[in-house]
Structure formats: structure tokens, C-alpha cells
């Protein structure tokens, strides 16, 4: 009878996967990832790619909000920085897409750190408003700095190619984005096993205590903004190359709120939470829209009100999640695992 997971060696303690069940699940997952694109049609591939980009963006935001406790409403703006940097470098200067993506990550990290400066003085809601300003300022610059961003016009980005293969078809992009998702996941999971990650968590839990312990608040808060924005910039740059067009309307305040909702629903301060939230928030509208089509077929009379029911359901599901499991989908998943591990003698 299992009463818990105990480690008797340092290797076990440091392992990322502790149990057989975890390893089996990981194997199934990898097989699924590898098989999925061959079975899926273009629609499902588009959804999977949108999820992949959202996962990267959500992990980025979670590092800042979930792990370091610095609320940010600037996600849309930072994604715009990533997308426009990558787009401009590739479209205007002919830089290869992978190089422009990398540069975009660093530029976004820099911009993120700059907008993170107020975080030393501001906390909680006050910081949220300061980052909201970042969102507005960035979008204003994007739409008005005509010489660089093209201002009102959409920025068309050439198709990315790797060894002569076009990377932004839905099928090819799937491999690119999910490889990057795995890379980002590995980097982020390991980040929180280093002194940097631990400093972030210390700041979140109690910044004064962290400071007393010798954590340089200013440095680590800015670092959190930079690392977070680095991934967010990657998500933005991938969007630019995937859709081969960049428009400001993709990066409005709605996006910032959507990503915040993703990590809250998924689970703050958990990498798995970022995954679950990104999947949930991307698929929920798609599922609702398809359910709407079925309902339309069965009850044609209600067609007019379906969009409103969808909107209301969207809101309702989110509220129910927050009420029933404030720790998010990640906790629900954990509960399910615990239930089966301890079955039939749960205590």
C-alpha cells in the first residue's frame, strides 16, 4: 500500500520524473505527439499549432506571474514586440527567419525588462496598471511609428524556409512549434531548480524575507521580466512566421487578459498549468462553436441566440473552475492522479 512518494537517494530526489506511472504517461504523450500530425487534418493541426504558441506564451507569463508574483497585463504588447521585430527583420532586412526569431526574443526580453523597472516600487494591482500602460504604449508605438512598423498597414512576412522546406505549412510548423514547446518546457522546468528560479519563488512568497536572505530584489525582478518576455517574444515571433502577416489587432488588451486567464485557470506557478490553460482556452471556443453547429442542426429555431449562449458558457465555465478549483486545472489533474494511485483505499 502506497502512502506517499519517498526518495532515498539524491538522484531520485533530483529526478524530473519520479514514478513509473509518470514515465509511462510521458512515453504515451511522446507517441501521441509524434503520431498526431499524421492523423490530423488541417483544422486540427491549426488548433495544435495555436495551442503550441499559446503554451510558450503562457509559460512565459507564468514565470512572471505564477512563479515571481509580478502581475502583468502587458502580454499582448510584448507579443507584439516579438512579432514585429521578427517580421521587420525578415521582411525588410532579409534576415533568415530563425535568426530574426532569436533576435526578437532578445529584443522582447530587453523591452520587458525596461517595462519591469516600476516593479521595484510597485506591487500587485499597482504593477498591473503599470504593465497595462506597457500594453497601450507598445501598441501605440506599433500603430504610429510608420517608418519602422509600417503603421496602419499589415506587415507581410516571407514564408520561412529551412533547407528548402517551407516551415509554415500547418504540418511542418507543427514540428517546429512543438519542438520549441519541449525546449521551452525543459528550460523552464530546470530554471526553477537553479538559484535564479528559487530566488523568483522566494520573491513571490515574501519579498522582504527574500531580501533579508540576500536575494537582490531589483536584479531578480528584472531578470524575471526579461526571461518571461524572452519566451513571450518567441511566441510573438512564431505567430509572425506562422501566419506570414503581422497586424496590430492580434495583440490587443484582450490577448493580455486571455493569457492571464490561461495561467489562472491552468494553475499559477506550474508549468503543467500553462499547458492545461493554453489548451483549455484555445479549445473551449472551438468546442463551443462546433457544439453550436450541432445544436443549430437539431434546433434551427435557436440559431440567433447560439453566439450569446457560447459567450455565456465561456464565462460560466471559467467562473465554475475558479469556484470549484481555485488552484486550476493542474490541481484537478493532480486530484485525478491521486485518486487512482490510492484506489481503492483513498484516505
Amino acid at each position: 500500500m502506497i502512502s506517499g512518494i519517498f526518495h532515498s537517494t539524491y538522484e531520485q530526489d533530483m529526478a524530473l520524473r519520479h514514478t513509473h506511472a509518470q514515465k509511462i504517461r510521458l512515453a504515451i504523450l511522446i507517441v501521441f505527439l509524434l503520431v498526431f500530425p499524421f492523423l490530423a487534418n488541417r483544422y486540427y493541426l491549426t488548433l495544435a499549432n495555436q495551442i503550441g504558441i499559446a503554451v510558450i506564451g503562457a509559460i512565459g507569463l507564468n514565470i512572471l506571474v505564477g512563479y515571481t508574483g509580478q502581475i502583468s497585463l502587458g502580454q499582448g504588447g510584448f507579443m507584439a514586440v516579438g512579432a514585429y521585430t521578427a517580421g521587420i527583420l525578415t521582411a525588410r532586412m532579409g534576415m533568415p527567419w530563425w535568426a530574426s526569431t532569436l533576435v526578437a526574443c532578445f529584443v522582447t526580453a530587453g523591452v520587458g525588462a525596461a517595462f519591469g523597472l516600476p516593479s521595484l516600487r510597485l506591487k500587485g494591482l499597482y504593477l498591473a496598471i503599470a504593465t497595462l500602460a506597457a500594453q497601450e504604449i507598445i501598441l501605440w508605438v506599433v500603430t504610429h511609428w510608420k517608418a519602422v512598423t509600417g503603421g496602419v498597414d499589415a506587415l507581410v512576412v516571407p514564408n520561412p524556409e529551412l533547407f528548402g522546406i517551407r516551415m509554415n505549412t500547418d504540418f511542418n510548423f507543427y514540428w517546429l512549434v512543438w519542438a520549441l514547446v519541449i525546449l521551452v518546457t525543459f528550460a523552464s522546468v530546470n530554471l526553477f531548480r537553479t538559484r535564479f528560479g528559487r530566488a523568483f519563488i522566494a520573491i513571490r512568497d515574501q519579498d522582504i524575507a527574500a531580501s533579508v536572505m540576500g536575494v537582490d530584489l531589483f536584479k531578480y525582478k528584472l531578470l524575471a521580466f526579461a526571461i518571461s518576455s524572452f519566451w513571450v517574444g518567441l511566441a510573438g515571433a512564431l505567430t509572425a512566421h506562422y501566419r506570414s502577416i503581422v497586424t496590430w489587432e492580434r495583440f490587443t488588451i484582450d490577448v493580455s487578459v486571455l493569457y492571464l486567464a490561461m495561467i489562472i485557470i491552468g494553475g499559477l506557478g506550474k508549468i503543467t498549468g500553462s499547458y492545461l490553460g493554453a489548451i483549455f482556452m484555445t479549445l473551449l471556443p472551438a468546442v463551443l462553436s462546433n457544439l453550436g453547429r450541432v445544436v443549430k442542426g437539431v434546433f434551427p429555431g435557436v440559431e440567433g441566440i447560439i453566439p450569446f449562449i457560447q459567450q455565456a458558457t465561456f464565462g460560466l465555465v471559467i467562473i465554475l473552475f475558479l469556484i470549484l478549483e481555485p488552484e486550476g486545472l493542474n490541481k484537478i489533474w493532480k486530484n485525478i492522479k491521486d485518486y487512482f494511485r490510492l484506489w481503492p483505499f483513498s484516505y
Binding site: L29, Y44, T247, E249
Partner: protein, 396 residues
């Protein structure tokens, strides 16, 4: 990494759910024609997109009841995308996957974001975004503009202003202000309007209307200092109504000319008496100025216990946008060609002087231009109704 597994469990469940939801096609002797459409029924522009969507659906139902396109029924699949670009992409991919041969979009956001994919998939695309940027045949070869572009609308407005100013005996330099929504949609006509005004010896001022502003007193003061005699408004109805009310209370005397997204019934409803005398550059004739093109839609709506007067001019706009697309499809079928996006594009490009029953000036496309027309009539609010004050004025 077992964490990631959750993702897949969810995807699998969702996939099962989604595949269970495939739509069944209608029966009939001839294969139905599949068209995809997205509308904003719950988002920021829902007030105007809803009647537009009803107009499109109305046209499809009416056309199908009258034998469809050469015996083929139109099967339009549509959904709300709440003005969210991501959802527009999802829906577009889904409908393309299901084999739609043409697509009806809605706003600037989705039209711009989809135009590269549309060109790649070779799907003819129309929308209610009349930005001249969509006329670039290299960047947007599958986008068609049924309405008069914002640039042309502004030029037509300025043309009228010049004549009006002369007729009223104005001798000073003509001063035109263009006040607009602070977005690509709003800025779209600025460059062309400025060039046209200055080429004709006038002075030009462009001003953005800040988002979320509750009054426009500061902007009115700026226009007073500039000495504007005519003010062109490129915005949607609700901020335009606030502007008109402020202008009235401030005693601002210049003539307002609304471009198409604020020249509608909503403006009159919201601004009340402050809308009296406002001019409107309207590419789609409003129901208050009856023309032959209103007849079918009105008769159709009467069978549903409604009327065109109740639905307003955006219904007509949706109806006739779909009618133009249907004309292209009909040509492909009549020519006995396979119904593909490429052939529909080619067919649309042969349309010359398509008669919309006086709703718009005749519509023509060619392989080098997807600009449907470049002229419209001007209207003026009088007694709470948009009444016609000019014949077609061309931007050229």
C-alpha cells in the same frame, strides 16, 4: 513531462467531440455550393455586423428558395468570431478544410490577418473592410472590395465640399479636417484625402479620436483653431454621435460628413437632433431612399414579419455583397467550369457593370483591379432620415 500528457488527453477528447460534430449537407439533385462566413455577433462591432450577417443569410435563403444558383443550393456555414483574430483563423481553416469555395469575412482585423492564407488557398474573399490596402494585387490577389474604398469615399466627400463651398460663395482657402478612429481602419483614408485636398489648393488637418474618450471638446477646439469648414468623420456610429452632440453644445459650425461606418441609422438614433444636416458618404443606398435593389430583400423580410426599414442599410450591404459573390459563382457554373476558388476569382474578374438595382453604382472587377466601384451618392440627415442629396459622384 507527464504533465504534457494532460494536453493530449484533452486534445483527444476534444477531437472526438469535434469529429462527432461534422455537419451534414443538404440533399437535392445538384451538389450544394459551400461558402464559409464569419461575423462579429458578440464582439466590439456586433451592432453593425449583426444586420450585415442577417442580410447575407437572408440573401442565401431567398436565393435558395428561388432555385439557388442554377439549381445548386448555397450552403453557407457561418459562425461568430467575436472580432478575435485567433478565432477567425480557426473558423477559416475549419471551413476551408470542409471544402468551401468562397469566403465572406467581416472586419479589418480578420481580413488583414487572413489575406496571405486566402491567397495561398485560392479562396475568393470579400468583407466589409473597404481599406485601399486590400487592393494591392500582389499582396491580396483574392480579396474583392464590393463597397467604395474609404479613400474614395473621403475624396468624394471633399469633392462635394469644394462644390458646396463655391456655391455658398466661400472665397477663403478651403479647410478640411478629417477626424478618425485611432486605428488602421480610421487612418486608411487619411493619406489620399490629404493629397487630394492639397492638390486642389485646400488645407488639410487630420486628427485621431482617442479610444475610450467620453468627449471630443479638445478635438473640436483644435478644428476651430484650424478653421475647418468641413469635417469628415471616419469612425463608427457611437463615437461619431458623441462628437456631433459635443459639436452642437459647443456651437461648432462646420459641416460634418460621415463616411460609411458612421453614416447609418444608428448615428441618427444615438445623436438625435444633433445629427440633423449631417452628410453621409454611403456606398449602399439606405432603405429610406427606395431603389429597385431594395425590393427583393424587403419582400423577403416581409414574409418573416420584418421589413428592410427595420433592419437598416447594413442588411442591404450584406445582402448585396453576397449577391456579387453569387454572381461570380453563377458565371463559373454557366460556363461549365469546375467550381473552384480560382475559377470563381477569374469569373468575378470578368464582371462588368453588375447592376445592384441602384443600391451601389455598378460593380466591375478586372484581373488588374478588385475595386468594385469608385462612386457613390451623398445623403443628408433630414427629419431623422437619410435623404439623397446628390447623384453618383466619382472619386476620379
Amino acid at each position: 513531462m507527464s504533465r504534457i500528457k494532460n494536453l493530449f488527453a484533452l486534445i483527444v477528447v476534444a477531437s472526438l467531440l469535434l469529429t462527432a460534430c461534422g455537419g451534414g449537407g443538404g440533399g437535392g439533385a445538384k451538389a450544394p455550393i459551400k461558402i464559409g462566413a464569419i461575423f462579429d455577433l458578440t464582439g466590439a462591432t456586433a451592432d453593425v455586423s449583426t444586420p450585415y450577417s442577417e442580410g447575407m443569410k437572408g440573401f442565401v435563403e431567398w436565393k435558395n428558395a428561388n432555385g439557388g444558383i442554377d439549381g445548386h443550393q448555397i450552403e453557407m456555414t457561418s459562425a461568430d468570431y467575436a472580432y478575435k483574430v485567433d478565432q477567425a483563423e480557426q473558423l477559416y481553416t475549419q471551413y476551408t478544410q470542409e471544402g468551401v469555395v468562397a469566403f465572406q469575412g467581416w472586419g479589418t482585423g480578420d481580413t488583414e490577418a487572413l489575406r496571405t492564407k486566402v491567397a495561398e488557398d485560392k479562396i475568393p474573399f470579400m468583407s466589409a473592410s473597404y481599406s485601399a490596402a486590400l487592393l494591392d494585387m500582389n499582396a491580396a490577389p483574392y480579396n474583392f472590395l464590393v463597397g467604395t474604398t474609404y479613400s474614395d469615399q473621403a475624396v468624394i466627400a471633399i469633392r462635394w465640399a469644394m462644390d458646396d463651398y463655391k456655391a455658398k460663395g466661400g472665397s477663403d482657402q478651403l479647410k478640411i479636417a478629417l477626424i478618425h478612429h485611432d486605428s488602421p481602419f480610421g487612418q486608411s483614408p487619411v493619406a489620399d484625402a490629404k493629397a487630394f485636398t492639397e492638390a486642389n489648393g485646400g488645407a488639410f488637418l487630420d486628427l485621431a479620436m482617442p479610444k475610450g474618450a467620453t468627449d471630443y471638446v479638445a478635438e473640436l477646439a483644435q478644428m476651430t483653431t484650424f478653421g475647418a469648414q468641413y469635417v469628415i468623420v471616419q469612425n463608427v456610429s457611437s463615437p461619431a454621435a458623441v462628437l456631433l452632440k459635443d459639436a452642437k453644445s459647443q456651437g461648432f459650425g462646420a459641416q460634418f460628413i460621415c463616411l460609411n461606418w458612421c453614416a447609418d441609422e444608428n448615428l441618427v438614433r444615438l445623436a438625435g437632433t444633433a445629427a440633423e444636416g449631417v452628410m453621409g458618404a454611403i456606398p449602399f443606398t439606405p432603405p429610406t431612399a427606395a431603389v429597385a435593389g431594395h425590393k427583393d430583400a424587403d419582400a423577403f423580410l416581409k414574409t418573416k414579419g420584418s421589413s428592410l426599414a427595420e433592419k437598416g442599410l447594413h442588411y442591404t450591404q450584406g445582402w448585396w455583397t453576397m449577391a456579387v459573390m453569387a454572381a461570380g459563382i453563377e458565371k463559373v457554373i454557366k460556363d461549365g467550369k469546375e467550381l473552384t476558388g480560382e475559377n470563381i476569382k477569374a469569373a468575378l474578374e470578368t464582371i462588368q457593370n453588375f447592376d445592384t438595382g441602384g443600391i451601389t453604382s455598378p460593380i466591375s472587377f478586372s484581373p488588374t483591379s478588385h475595386k468594385g466601384n469608385n462612386s457613390l451618392r451623398l445623403y443628408q440627415v433630414s427629419g431623422g432620415n437619410w435623404t439623397q442629396v446628390s447623384d453618383f459622384i466619382s472619386a476620379k
